[in-house]
Symmetry: C2
Subunit: 457 residues, 2 copies
């Protein structure tokens, strides 16, 4: 391990220079003018693996931007780990808010500023440099690594989605490692062991065949805006419980260990409310804010519309009303079952004189990895050794579609270990990545290969 | 009465010619270019009273268009009746949809087509011609008539509103006669003995200080769109009863006579639903559709907005949500008391983490005249004698601000006797007025002066 640490130390400046080279490629997937840069970035990534003499290095064309797939020399009997990352970056607008140009990486105060620094070029490179350190010092990796680096993460991952199912055998792995997120707080590394799923709908109600005068007709015609309020209010009770038949039947309860891990997190409810500018909250009774955000299903109205929205008074009884509604799901809820239950509940709540239409816009299940999974334990030890403190265990309230797809299609365990920080401006001007986190990430990744290699297959 | 009927018969063609002269003046109050025509129309109206040798005939300037005030020779001990009407008309757009030009009155199939024919030039003229018939045949009127004919009804009556209070003594009367509306159906004349009032509000809810990601935050922050649905749904129960403290305390109940008069009206619930394109209705339990429209208070959401209203799915937890809400009131509810009760109920329903603001946009009480009022009975007899059938008694679900103001400021009884028809296109192209109704209106008006003159003061 001495030679290993020495290698990391000796090459720290090279690693940073290499990252800067990567960051200078303006690989904005959303910008058609960047197409040549996308190919250049893919080739740049592929070149990393060629330099490590990986037996498989492929740049795979898609209908959009190419995928890079690489595979390390086989280590029989050892686990196979898939590393996922993306070489594409967010657009840079508004350009005038950048202190230094987005594609001219600049170090200020120990942070490297550039578009893609944290999302995801800097983070994905840690898992390449860690492999390099193994190969250059130990002569080989202790396990089997596969890399899938895509160029369309910021625009929906269509090419990878297309590739995934037909190539699931090639991508087969014991666990998929993803560093495309954040630590819990500065100095507090985290393992994200769960994601919520989603079931998102549009509900449209239609009443009379035209807008009516609320004076002449009000009281004698069912008002779709009134009905919408009634239906939406009828989907949740005053204890924050969702009123959909069977909604909680499959919900995986929080274990005692999870609850105590979450309770131990440095989370200040008062500070949270202060930051959001509210003086109270409402949520499912019997759960803390973090439990509600990460591990309990929710119902949120994301949009509402009906009738007159302008200035002043217009006495209209609207012909229709609509809402966007989202349910965040937790394992093992199924979006299809939520949709079925929702339809039943709306049918029950909808008053006469109204027709309704529910459109299923988006559905994905939640994901959770058992805290006592050997992969989680391996990652915890690796992170502790590199960051000097044991990671906290967090879940994420949102969904990450590609993680869910990996879990679904490859039936593999996702290991989400983000090296970034909340304030890294991932999708904003002045994106940055702490160089200390970059180097700790490489070290943790290298240690992770060692820890994972000890898992008995 | 023979001489009287003879006079009407002999002058029928003159009356029509005079109405056409009036209709040729393009007195569009909303069109600044019509200002000279507004003055011309006012003078034209004043000239009618001068020709009848009325002792008071005034064209009163306002900040907008002039008012015409006239008063007949005093008949001591007889009732004093105020006739209200307006010489201004609606704009004519879209002009290309008129079969004949709007200011070139044309008779087709017994109907006189022109802008203002029914609204309100034709109708107001009936009450002038009736006075003329009395004076030319009996030598004098049997009672005291005052006329207030304004030129801003279609744009909000600001001038009259300004004039009303300081001049309430000059306008003092036992009852105000208004013909600016419709019969119940062709051949079914009506007396509108009640109007609903209104209390209209804007409710704005604010939650977190910015739109949040519904995945990352959902469940731990009170969602203003959810809260809005909950509050609105909490303002009315499943029996259609409004849940505001004291809301029904002052509601004047329908009398048995009213209920049977309304039940006797030719109203077909199935046909009503068919015309509105609905297959059912929801309203206050225990009341018929007409009762709900005319004589019971209601709660209607007139507008709703929050968060994302575009295509597809956006997973936003909105920072705010709002609604326009309208209560239709009946006598003797007071808009201020409804506002107070509403504030209490919202405070009770609003969940923690949400601040709310209620803006009072518009309020007016309802008006109702007792069916056994001598004025109503006099009008019923007059109408029956002219139209050959007893009028039905209807109420109106909307409010007519100027009627409410007369009732409030002059403490007088409004008598709404419209000679028009529902399909007269009052605010649309091809406005018309039945010439038969014009003549019946003159006859009914003349008879009304006689009937009203019998009322003991």
């Amino acid at each position: 391990m001495n030679a290993f640490n020495q290698y990391l130390e000796d090459h720290a400046a090279d690693f940073e220079a290499e990252l800067c080279e990567f960051l200078r490629i303006p690989s904005v997937s959303a910008d058609a003018a960047c197409k040549p840069q996308m190919d250049r970035a893919a080739q740049w990534v592929a070149e990393r693996f060629r330099r490590l003499d990986f037996p498989v290095v492929e740049v795979i064309p898609t209908a959009g931007h190419p995928l890079v797939f690489a595979q390390s020399p086989t280590v029989p009997g050892a686990p196979t780990i898939l590393v996922y990352g993306h070489y594409d970056v967010q657009p840079v607008d508004p350009l005038d808010q950048w202190t230094t140009p987005p594609f001219e990486p600049t170090v200020r105060d120990g942070k490297l500023f550039a578009r893609g620094a944290t999302d995801d070029k800097g983070q994905l490179l840690t898992h390449v440099k860690s492999a390099e350190a193994w190969i250059r010092t130990a002569g080989k990796l202790p396990l089997n690594l596969k890399y899938m680096i895509e160029g369309e993460e910021e625009i929906g991952s269509a090419g990878l989605e297309e590739f995934l199912k037909p190539n699931s055998k090639r991508l087969k792995c014991n666990c998929v490692v993803i560093s495309d997120g954040c630590q819990f707080a500065p100095g507090v590394p985290a393992i994200t062991y769960g994601l919520r799923g989603i079931a998102y709908f549009e509900l449209r109600l239609t009443g009379p065949n035209r807008d009516l005068h609320s004076g002449s007709f009000g009281g004698s015609v069912t008002n779709p805006a009134n009905a919408l309020a009634q239906i939406l209010a009828g989907l949740i009770d005053r204890h924050g419980k969702i009123k959909i038949p069977g909604f909680y039947r499959r919900v995986l309860p929080l274990s005692d260990r999870e609850r105590s891990e979450l309770a131990a997190l440095p989370f200040d409810e008062q500070e949270y409310q202060r930051q959001l500018g509210v003086d109270g909250t409402f949520g499912e009774e019997g759960y803390t804010s973090l439990e509600r955000r990460w591990a309990r299903p929710t119902f949120d109205v994301c949009g509402l519309w009906s009738g007159f929205q302008g200035e002043g008074a217009k006495t209209v009884l609207p012909a229709n009303a609509g809402a966007k509604i989202s349910f965040r799901l937790v394992p093992n809820q199924k979006p299809e079952q939520v949709a079925d239950g929702l339809r039943k509940q709306i049918a029950k709540l909808c008053p006469p004189g109204i027709t309704w239409e529910l459109t299923d816009l988006h559905g994905a299940p939640g994901v959770v990895v058992a805290l006592d999974s050997p992969y989680v334990e391996a990652a915890a030890r690796a992170i502790e050794s590199a960051f000097g403190r044991r990671p906290v265990f967090t879940r994420e309230g949102g969904s990450i579609p590609i993680v869910v797809r990996f879990a679904q299609v490859l039936k593999t365990t996702p290991l989400l270990i983000g090296w970034g920080q909340d304030d890294d401006n991932a999708h904003s001007p002045n994106e940055k990545f702490s160089l200390a986190d970059f180097h700790r990430g490489i070290k943790a990744s290298a240690k992770l290969w060692e820890e994972l290699s000890k898992i008995k297959m």
